[in-house]
Symmetry: C2
Subunit: 280 residues, 2 copies
């Protein structure tokens, strides 16, 4: 049986229900964060929980548990759910709003949902991914809000297959993918956007690792630059580093996984292995 | 006791709960529509239900009941809830998504929620409303989606009082208010935007009524034009026609309710009275 934490209690997931007057349901008003486990232990917990708190504050919400309380609940949930590897999703909404708009900040809806970790198809890491662009900037890009209309629509096409990821462009700039951050090599410099994007926890870790090996700049990336790039990749909690080999059917870096990207993928693996050994 | 319709059944509202794996809860992926009653009877039912169907289609969703079924359910709910006047809210999401993104089109979440009709403060109609602008265009402006981050945030300020309504501007144009359409007199022509806005049912009715008395154009309205306007007003299901007397603290039309606006408010009243007499 799957267990979740819902408004103060650990309970079977089937018993948790969000009120149909919740401003999260009626207006999509809320935030979330998502972390994964390695070896059954939460990875980058503080980074994810910290971002949840900041996302919440940006929408005038407050996470009703402390970092320590959240960590204890997550450990309990992981034990009860007995999955080999999990994703842990924190969701916070404004709570009930009788008139569908005005909620009470003191009574938010807060739940923690455990899912089996979905492995990407092996080909994503080995052969790289094909992206499609959409002209879109998220409403509060720095906030991990519940609003994913463009992304979910693209992932549920009426016909054909969804692309691996949608890459958002905005007025000539490359921003981020629907659920990932975007990096590319422009000459010998690794670049990644720093404004109008969600600042990913995996992104930040990859920046730290990459700085040991490459020149790195957090700066705007133009669409023109994208197609002149020699290597590109995505970072995300559920993807770590995934090479990008084409965008809108046009090859990036000759359509092959780049050598420098492979080096970073290895560095990421080493980091995780060391962390696992360290926390075992 | 309040009754709702939830996934095929009429039930007490307290028994209805949305799964915490619903793509509506996790990703704000859904649409809604809202109508009101006059004399306890649904007003503009076909227009609202038709728009719900179109909003759904735009997101690849399908309303799981026919117009006739929905009408029958709404009549039953209104009888059971025994309110003097109500709003009726249809909500449709993609339903459960185990991985938070991919849902099954055949099993959406669909519910109908009845609320007491909230009368606006009398001063809104008598003295007019003060608006504040935000630079914002909704993600799919023609779709009545569940995404209202900017609007709900503005309505729940950490300090001070929320404005009556937020007026969205976009790259020099006036679009719509957070939950209303916008009209203004530019010289002797009544103008209202027709692109990048939700096409309101009250808006369409007001256009029909206004055409009998005034020149009317559906066209882009510039922000510059807004502040040169002599009269302005909002239309919405829960507001009918509400005069606008200031925007960002600057008076519109000398800060008084315009005479032509009053004529339209009267025409609207007559229309509703005639409809009530006709359907009694």
């Amino acid at each position: 049986m799957a267990y979740c934490y819902f408004n103060g209690k650990i309970m079977p997931e089937s018993e948790a229900g969000v009120s149909i007057r919740d401003v999260g349901v009626l207006r999509g008003y809320g935030v979330f964060d998502l972390l994964r486990t390695y070896g059954g232990r939460p990875f980058l917990f503080d980074e994810h929980f910290g971002r949840l708190v900041r996302s919440a504050a940006a929408l005038g919400l407050e996470v009703p548990v402390s970092r320590q309380q959240a960590f204890t609940i997550v450990k309990k949930l992981l034990l009860k759910n007995k999955l080999p590897e999990s994703t842990v999703r924190f969701v916070l909404t404004g709570g009930k709003a009788a008139d569908s708009v005005h909620f009470n900040r003191a009574t938010p809806t807060f739940f923690i949902l455990i899912s089996p970790f979905y492995e990407l198809p092996a080909s994503a890491h080995a052969k790289g991914a094909a992206l499609e662009t959409r002209e879109h900037k998220r409403e509060f890009p720095e906030v991990k809000s519940l609003n994913y209309l463009t992304a979910v629509k693209a992932n549920n096409p009426l016909k054909g297959k969804a692309p691996f990821e949608i890459l958002y462009t905005w007025q000539g700039r490359v921003l981020e993918a629907a659920t990932s951050n975007f990096f590319m090599f422009s000459g010998d410099t690794l670049v990644t956007p720093a404004r109008d994007v969600l600042i990913g926890t995996t992104r930040n870790l990859v920046i730290k690792l990459a700085k040991k090996e490459f020149k790195l700049k957090e700066r705007d990336v133009s669409v023109r630059e994208l197609f002149a790039g020699t290597e590109a990749f995505l970072t995300a909690t559920n993807k770590d580093i995934v090479p990008v080999v084409s965008v809108n059917g046009k090859k990036i870096g000759g359509g092959k996984v780049g050598e420098r990207t492979k080096r970073l993928m290895n560095a990421f693996c080493y980091f995780v292995d060391a962390w696992r050994a360290d926390t075992a």
